[in-house]
């Protein structure tokens, strides 16, 4: 490893805190440590800064400030939203989600099954798209909430939020969307959208980790998850994470200015990275829907080689990316998103996600393009598989030796 800073292309995992965000936060760790609930001016002044952050965040997503609740993470926002939706619709016992949701939604829904809820997991096609007809026909009078993500963290796929929201509204069903990957990357005006609840997280938009927010449309009934003091208007108890909130506010202000950059410069970097890899490495394919994708994300499968080996090789060159391979997940099974898409096991194990941000440069893309063909060639030379011999004679492709349940 050299001492040069890494080429960081793992921005869907987390982003760097922006220097301006950090500057704005610092005083709230030291001289301005007051409690925003205090009567005295010392604390009350801090409260004004929280109001400002709420306005900035509302501005970014086209909502009203009183529709924003600060939380401690995207995961907390997801949990709060879904639990609130079912608590305020106590007679309804059915949830609809997609198979490609983040674990914060997927595992919560599966957990609720043990409490007697029915969950429909809408499937996706080979490009990761959901079928709106399937979604529509899954809605019943018993459905309490539909939760479909705005953008997928692994493929970058963007889902048709407006149309899904319209379907829900027609049926009088609450609609929640996990927009953790979308906020700050694509423009949104919630005042004009049929979205009732929306989750976001600071650390995906250059604010710190451990701060999130939940948007709750004004007319929507809400029940708090964290009960206690009167903070956040009684909707989320706990003395505020003031530096985090201030940071998220500043990051939202910067993101509002930078969304055009995401969709021009970052998109161009991503496109150049992707087309160069496709041109220079044989037997690769793109996972996801190229027509409806976040501008920063690119998920590529490298046939016949394994993702962790690719990541480690990239890491040696100071390049940070991630993979849907089983070996990196610790679960022995490849990414649930790629599996839901029916991506062959061979490709799922060899998938690499590059996710860029406004902090990436042409030089970063050059560095990846420069080393990628060599890494692929080296690992392929060691692999027993190739286009001519895609699997061992005694085993068939994409099935377990036992013909087991993992497919």
């Amino acid at each position: 490893m050299t001492n040069t800073p890494p080429v960081y292309m793992d921005n869907n995992a987390t982003t760097a805190v922006d220097a301006e965000v950090l500057q704005e936060m610092l005083p709230f760790f030291s001289e301005r440590y007051g409690n925003p609930s205090s009567i005295h001016n010392f604390g009350g002044g801090v409260g004004k800064k929280i109001d400002e952050a709420r306005c900035r965040l509302a501005g970014l997503i086209g909502a009203r400030p009183d529709e924003i609740i600060f939380t401690a993470s995207g995961s907390e926002s997801d949990n709060t939203a879904i639990r609130s939706a079912i608590a305020t619709n106590a007679d309804r016992r059915h949830l609809v989600i997609s198979k490609v949701e983040h674990p914060a939604v997927l595992n919560l829904a599966r957990h609720l099954v043990t409490g007697g809820f029915r969950v429909t997991e809408i499937g996706v096609d080979a490009m990761g798209r959901i079928d709106l007809d399937e979604l529509s026909s899954s809605l019943t009078d018993d459905t309490a909430v539909v939760s479909i993500m705005w953008a997928n963290n692994e493929t970058g796929n963007i889902y048709p939020i407006e149309r899904i929201g319209a379907l829900c509204r027609e049926r009088g069903i609450l609609f929640h969307t996990d927009a953790v990957q979308a906020v700050g990357r694509i423009p949104m005006r919630l005042s004009e959208l049929p979205v009732d609840l929306l989750s976001l997280s600071g650390h995906k938009l250059h604010a710190p980790k451990g701060i999130g927010a939940l948007y709750v449309r004004r007319a929507v009934r809400f029940e708090a998850l964290v009960i206690g003091g009167h903070q956040e208007g009684g909707r989320r108890a706990g003395t505020e994470n003031v530096p985090g909130i201030v940071g998220l506010g500043k990051a939202a202000e910067l993101a509002a200015e930078r969304i055009p950059i995401e969709n021009s410069m970052v998109r161009a970097l991503r496109d150049r990275l992707e087309s160069s890899i496709l041109a220079s490495c044989p037997d690769v394919s793109v996972n996801g829907d190229p027509e409806n994708r976040l501008p920063n994300t690119c998920n590529i499968s490298f046939g016949y080689i394994e993702g962790e080996a690719i990541l480690l090789s990239l890491d040696i060159h100071g390049i940070c990316a991630s993979s849907g391979s089983a070996c990196t997940s610790g679960s022995l099974e490849p990414s649930h998103v790629l599996r839901a898409m029916g991506v062959p096991f061979t490709s799922a194990h060899g998938s690499v996600r590059f996710s860029l941000s406004v902090q990436n440069s042409d030089a970063d893309v050059d560095r990846v393009i420069q080393v990628m063909p060599g890494i692929v060639a080296k690992l392929r030379a060691m692999s027993p598989f190739s286009p001519e011999a895609p699997y061992f004679q005694n085993a068939s492709q994409d099935t377990c030796p036992s013909g087991g349940s993992c497919s």
């Binding site: 022995l332 490849p334 036992s402 087991g404």
Partner: protein, 278 residues
């Protein structure tokens, strides 16, 4: 990212003996691309001696490094010597593997066992037979039982780390827990039987001590990156030296008394005293 030893990274970056072999005596394929790792082992065997070994591996860094050290280990060995190589030998050569990656070293051993069986014209090893417990990865009860015995495993997660069984849909985890329960009960019964008949001659005692150190103590020390060397046996006094991570480690004295002496007293003879070589 995993916490790999320098040795694993070194073998991953500069794998020895990677690539095809022109005219191998035997070729063994294990694993499956669907399950995330697969290994093809080539051996050239002349007059019962392995004169060359090469590999091709689909898998993560630890799978590639395990394959690489395996080929280094077997080169120059006789077929009989090679048959004695265990997954612990691979792990030791790599200065340890993260526990969740133990199955990578197991895969190396399976390939070796399969290649040697092919060479001898034998049937597949017994763990290939048996009843499939984990359908996701095609793992049999025999293989699980062997992993529990060889590595003194106590939890389902450990079994998953060594064999992959239970790491997919998870449906087989209850059954794995049941296998752990009866296998450990059986292991305890055996240990008790052997401790009830203290060795009658010095020679018997020495043989038992060597066996217990080889089969039980060393494998568990190696899991933590350590090792043990038997220096001397005089009556009931056993002198050993600790190597690797155990050597010079603050807890060294505790390791000696607690692990080695306790095990030897329990299994071989209650009168045993363990000393560390100066």
């Amino acid at each position: 990212m995993w916490d790999y030893s320098k040795k694993v990274l070194e073998h991953f970056l500069n794998p020895r003996n990677a690539g095809e072999m022109a005219e191998p005596t035997v070729v063994a394929d294990v694993g499956n691309i669907a399950c995330g790792d697969a290994l093809r082992l080539y051996l050239r065997i002349e007059d019962g001696i392995i004169t060359d070994a090469r590999f091709k591996t689909f898998g993560c860094a630890s799978a590639i490094a395990s394959s690489s050290v395996l080929t280094e280990l077997v080169k120059g060995m006789s077929v009989d010597e090679a048959a004695g190589i265990t997954d612990d030998d691979i792990v030791r050569e790599l200065d340890g593997l993260p526990e969740a990656k133990m199955h990578c070293s197991v895969m190396g051993c399976e390939a070796l066992a399969k290649a040697l069986a092919l060479y001898r014209g034998e049937k597949p090893a017994p763990e290939d037979s048996g009843r499939i417990v984990c359908r996701c990865f095609g793992i049999t009860d025999n293989k699980i039982i062997r992993a529990i015995r060889d590595h003194d495993l106590t939890t389902v997660d450990q079994v998953t780390h060594y064999t992959k069984a239970g790491g997919g849909c998870g449906k087989c985890r209850e059954e794995i827990a049941e296998i752990i329960r009866y296998t450990r009960a059986d292991m305890a019964a055996r240990a008790k039987r052997s401790s009830q008949s203290p060795p009658r001659t010095n020679l018997q005692r020495m043989q038992q001590i060597i066996q217990v150190i080889d089969d039980r103590i060393r494998p568990s020390l190696r899991l933590d990156g350590g090792d043990i060397e038997l220096v001397d046996i005089e009556g009931t006094t056993v002198t050993v030296a600790l190597r690797g991570r155990c050597a010079g480690c603050l807890a060294g004295a505790v390791t000696l008394r607690d692990v080695v002496q306790h095990t030897l007293r329990e299994v071989v003879d209650a009168a045993i005293e363990v000393k560390e070589a100066p």
